[in-house]
Symmetry: C2
DNA sequence: CCTCCCCATTGGAACGATCAACTCGGGCGA
DNA sequence: TCGCCCGAGTTGATCGTTCCAATGGGGAGG
């Protein structure tokens, strides 16, 4: 050690060697105290731990990463949110993921996403071994990242089913959207509604189609008609407003089940336009239980995805993936719940 | 190289030495090609770059971090959001920060925060040299992180002024909340309102007090009375609802300026309770321009913080901080803007 | 008493990059 | 002609950790 004592000592973090010297053991023993305490005799372990504590030692991440070829970081593409929508799923999910992965010893690394090129960003992180694995979200749009990541043999877990690729054999976790829509529809039927409309997304959005089947299923199993009661549009407030206005004029529904909270807010706009009171004159159910649903008067009934559970399952899958040899789990499908509020 | 050719070659990323061998130069020359291209003769540079391209080489992050004592990561505490509030500031800010810092060559590392102990998590990352610097948000609550980080001589930039510590000399970026509230109040005055109420937070919330001064300033400079028109409460929809009901009964305001969108939503609840139409019977202005403000009927007028600019300034400050020697910038105060919608 | 084995611990090498100091020519001024 | 400097590359050391093989001591078994 040629370290000058006292001179900005706090700026130079202690190393294994420092701890070893203080405890009177070798570097490797200190390393074992940190990583494999079972290997040490109890008294030695105590002495080393004391030295670690006294110096305030933490293993240097870079050195450890270099040696173990591991970063304990999970990459997550954090694409810009679309303004003007109520979609907060992503942010709530990220919070859960940060908590859960931290408990498993991993941190979340965010990188920006180019909406035009869904695979941008992944490559650089992968080649520089900056992350151990990725969590791929928004895998519904033809799934380009998933296919790309698979072709690169990159470890990753998808939040979202590989809709268009049944042969995909990467682990994934998803929420049963059809079950959610069914829950919502059954709820309105119980409340006495018979003419219940569906407002969903364009047909290409496979998630939306999935949710729609839940509505269809509930209606049919209760012997209710669906014709003329379904509508598809963009995921914007304006589209939901327009679609609900047309539905009210042409099919006189008393209830609306929507593929998103954004669309449901559009319905609330239409009701306000016509002087109708949500919850009394017409029932509305949204999807995602966004903050909007929670604070808008009189409270928007909404399908809530169990994002905490999703995060737990994803981290579990990641851990399996990073084990030697990799345990290839299949998919996990979780059930959402319905949060009932004033609009129904 | 004792690498077995062909055997899982794709799983072992190429190193500097591989590139050097292929290009017929030394390791250091390849390193220079990546980091200091000016040092190379143009033809050598071209040859090296070609080899890099052919092998698909990217510098190993861990090795670089170890040698340079730098991680190019910025730590950000990502505390759980409070359910039931409309506060989306944090998430919008994170998006901006990810984009901006990426352009500057930095990635954002999220770590969980314990609401009970604001400094938890920072220490471990700091001592293991996992991040180069932190961005500290929510520095209003007596500023414990900021003080702690300063005492540790940790490089960080705060989003938020050091309210209670004028001697703090760390760089910070903030948005002028008083100016925002003043903007909102002036707007209602222009619209013809004279009795304009303020709904803010508990006095201990210095941010709330700051915003309140904007309301006071605008009222006084226009010769309008403020007595009996101000109220303070928790930042929840229920509190805003209650506060606005009391104000309506006791002071008959025609306009409400609120310290948050959450409180403003409470006002909308009260108006709905009484059959009053926001925008016609009473004007409401929120703060933060959350997604809720954007989608709720008839559209909530709100003060929008320039979070993109905030991110830019924060990254600028971080870069100054990580320069040798550190350039200690003071604070940067940005101006918000008012987004006018249906409620005013 | 010797051998064997196991436990606890040790020393050297390696991970892949950058830093610092050095070499080798060629050009230029005195 | 000599000496100096500068441009272009090279070489060895180093960052702090973990992997691997080896070491010494002590107890059990013959």
């Amino acid at each position: 050690m040629t370290r000058v004592p006292g001179y900005r000592a706090s700026a130079v973090p202690p190393t294994l060697a420092d701890v070893a010297e203080l405890a009177g053991v070798s570097r490797q023993t200190v390393s074992n105290a940190v990583n494999n305490p079972d290997l040490l005799r109890p008294d030695t372990l105590a002495r080393v731990l004391e030295a670690i504590d006294e110096l305030g030692y933490s293993p240097n991440r870079a050195a450890r990463n270099l040696r173990t070829r591991t970063s304990h970081l999970i990459g997550l593409r954090f694409a810009p949110v679309q303004e003007g929508t109520a979609n907060a799923t992503m942010d709530r999910f990220v919070h859960s993921l940060v908590e859960t992965s931290s408990a498993a010893g991993y941190h979340v690394l965010l990188f920006p996403g180019d909406p035009q090129d869904p695979t941008a960003g992944y490559d650089a992180l992968l080649r520089s071994t900056a992350v151990d694995a990725f969590v791929a979200t928004d895998t519904y749009l033809g799934n380009p990242q998933a296919a790309w990541l698979e072709s690169r043999r990159a470890p990753f877990v998808a939040f979202g089913r590989p809709w268009d690729n049944p042969e995909a054999h990467h682990p994934w976790v998803d929420v049963d959207g059809a079950a959610g829509a069914e829950l919502a529809t059954e709820h309105l039927i119980e409340r006495g509604h018979q003419r219940i409309a569906w407002i969903g997304w364009r047909k290409e959005q496979l998630i939306g189609e999935d949710r729609r089947t839940g509505w269809t299923r509930a209606m049919r199993s209760n012997g209710l008609a669906t014709s003329g009661l379904a509508s598809r549009s963009e995921d914007t407030v304006a589209s939901g407003r327009e679609a609900s206005a047309v539905l009210l004029d042409e099919a006189q529904p008393t209830g609306f089940v929507c593929a998103s909270d954004t669309l449901a807010m559009g319905v609330l706009h239409t009701l306000a336009d016509r002087g109708l009171v949500p919850g009394r004159d017409a029932a509305v159910v949204g999807f995602d239980d966004s903050q909007v649903a929670q604070v808008v008067p009189p409270g928007l009934t909404s399908v809530r995805q169990p994002l905490e559970e999703v995060a737990v399952e994803i981290v579990r899958a990641l851990e399996g993936l990073l084990t030697q040899p990799p345990i290839r789990a299949g998919g996990v499908l979780l059930s959402p719940e319905l949060i009932v509020r004033g609009t129904s």
